[in-house]
Symmetry: C2
């Protein structure tokens, strides 16, 4: 059965980002309009990545720019970091885990059961992460007062006709 | 049951790298001595990443420097690329898939069955990829005539006492 990137699929990720950032970091994120990322490439200063298997095989990426992640992690850890360091990389891994975990919980209620790998975190200003798959890449952008972040999801059983309007 | 990073676990990855590079790209890689990467961080100019679930949860990373991947992909595709581009990112995804696939096949013969996510590929000179997990990171380095590459494996049921001698 193909995965439609419709509202039922998008909302678990959208809700998870808002909930995790609010709960863990007291950061209120504002969602933008989801879109299909034809470049297939996440761009950020730090990116958490989780692979999934099960109902479909794919990847979930949480990419943030430096302003966004500094505020989030400083709030989480009561720190005042001014650049991306090892603690921040670990925190991005944990945030990605929590967001993917909450979204997987909601998706399982819809009959889509996924298992998740442990997270990897990419650090490097302006790095790019490309999702290698035949499935479209769904991007859900968010803004925060201090910077932007994007969740990107690419599941191999997706279909080329997205419903993200 | 914990995963010991012993020769039975290392050889499937070592053999897969040698075999895939030789078969796909006519590149003869020379393995170095496996070690536990205490920085938990893969460094490269391009990195293919695959998440795994099943017998254990974890990540497999194939990091290459520019010299190594240019020769490998130019041989694979009969091209003469001089910098890392989109085709090279896709090829790194496929190589990571093939290496992980062959290694998983060998590991399954030992009773360790893994499922793999689709690959993601990180591009950006000198980027770092951190494995976020409590398990040790096993690094298997290789050299080729035109540059170096490393396979790093971090499986969450690993144990802190590696046997890589």
């Amino acid at each position: 059965m193909p995965i439609l990137y419709n509202v039922n699929f998008i909302n678990p990720f959208l809700d998870a980002v808002l909930n995790v950032l609010s709960t863990m970091a007291s950061v209120e994120a504002t969602p933008g309009k989801p879109f299909i990322n034809k470049t297939r490439t996440s761009i950020g200063d730090v990116t958490g990545l989780i692979g999934v298997t099960g109902y479909a095989s794919g990847s979930i990426a949480l990419s943030l720019n430096q302003g966004a992640i500094l505020t989030i992690v400083n709030n989480m850890l009561s720190e005042s970091y001014t650049e991306i360091n090892d603690d921040i990389a670990d925190a991005v891994g944990e945030l990605t885990n929590m967001i993917a975990g909450q979204a997987r919980g909601d998706l399982s209620k819809l009959g889509m059961n996924f298992k998740a790998s442990t997270p990897s975190v990419v650090v490097g200003k302006g790095h790019k992460v490309k999702h290698v798959s035949s499935a479209p890449v769904l991007a859900i952008p968010f803004s925060t007062p201090d910077g932007d972040l994007t969740v990107e999801v690419c599941f191999s059983h997706g279909v080329p006709e997205p419903d993200t309007e």
